[in-house]
Amino acid sequence: MTALLGKKLGMTSIYNDRGESIPCTVVKAGPCPVVQIRTKERDGYSAVQIGFDYLTKSTQSNKPEKGHFAKANVRPTRFLREFRVENAVQESGAELTVELFNIGDRVKVTGKGKGRGFQGVVKRHHFGGIGMTTHGQSDRVRAPGSIGGSSYPSRVFPGQRMAGRMGYETRTIRNLEILDVIPEENLLVIKGSVPGAINSLVEIVRM
């Protein structure tokens, strides 16, 4: 398994050898302790559970959590995530760092996108809105329009796209390139953008 948890720090750009300015995201990834190995025999599936972001105070975790981490002999972390793998090569207690990744690796990055709040249909579902403000419809330029028939079917179909909460959904961007690995600072420089706000948790998995 080549996966890490990290914190999105923000975006910048760096130059490649051809002098092109490449947009990139800086992620603080790892160190991630392996907290548990899930096995088919015991858990019904096989996976590796890793943590990220060591807690500094013992009051930040409760007793069951402390016991879970103590089993692997690692310090408690803020986040825990599992990654499905068939044959885990790591042992619990091991610590994964950015050195898992090499420059040029292709990864997929998963995170929770920025929450947009309650949005109308134009922003949320890319409706066109109304193209004109004349003929008495100047007050409904961004309105959804008809949401269905009247006498038939006399109801609104489930799944009808309407206004509502937008964003803060798990998103994955695939095929991103690792531009740089900085082990001293636990940093990964990933080409392009990754989901989520600054300081949010991201999962980085080699493809």
Binding site: L9, G10, M11, T12, S13, I14, Y15, N16, D17, R18, G19, S21, C24, V26, K28, D180, I182, E185, L187, V189
Partner: protein, 126 residues
């Protein structure tokens, strides 16, 4: 320094390391040049497999940005046609920046040079 600045600094230093440095002459790799100065920029041009150096000489008319985003704008008159080129200050394709002549101007952006003839520009700058 935060992590983002650290990454930017690393890219800047990598670019500067590839430049033709004349350390003994005390020249810095990004010399202290200002708008109004006449400079010569040695640019690496990659043509297929081959790589050669092209010189671009003109008057700096503007500098903008900070850190890795810093750029500067150089204007020259080429065969009677005004040409402006924007260089990223820390681009690795720049091999050297040599100040040929200092100018004396009061503005930070010399866009007013665009409407002037070569002779007028010379009279204005020096």
């Amino acid at each position: 320094m935060n992590a983002i600045q650290f990454v930017e600094q690393k890219s800047i230093e990598k670019s500067l390391a590839s430049r033709a440095v004349k350390a003994e002459s005390g020249k810095s790799v990004t010399p202290d040049f200002r708008p109004g100065d006449t400079v010569n920029i040695a640019v690496r041009v990659i043509e297929g497999e081959k790589e050669r150096v092209q010189n671009y000489q003109g008057v700096v008319i503007a500098r903008r940005g900070a850190g890795i985003n810093a750029t500067f704008r150089v204007r020259k008159i080429s065969n009677g046609v005004g040409v402006e080129r924007i260089f990223p200050l820390y681009s690795p394709i720049i091999q050297s920046i040599d100040v040929l002549r200092r100018g004396s101007v009061r503005r930070a952006k010399l866009y007013y040079l665009r409407g002037m003839s070569e002779r007028k520009i010379r009279a204005k700058l020096h």
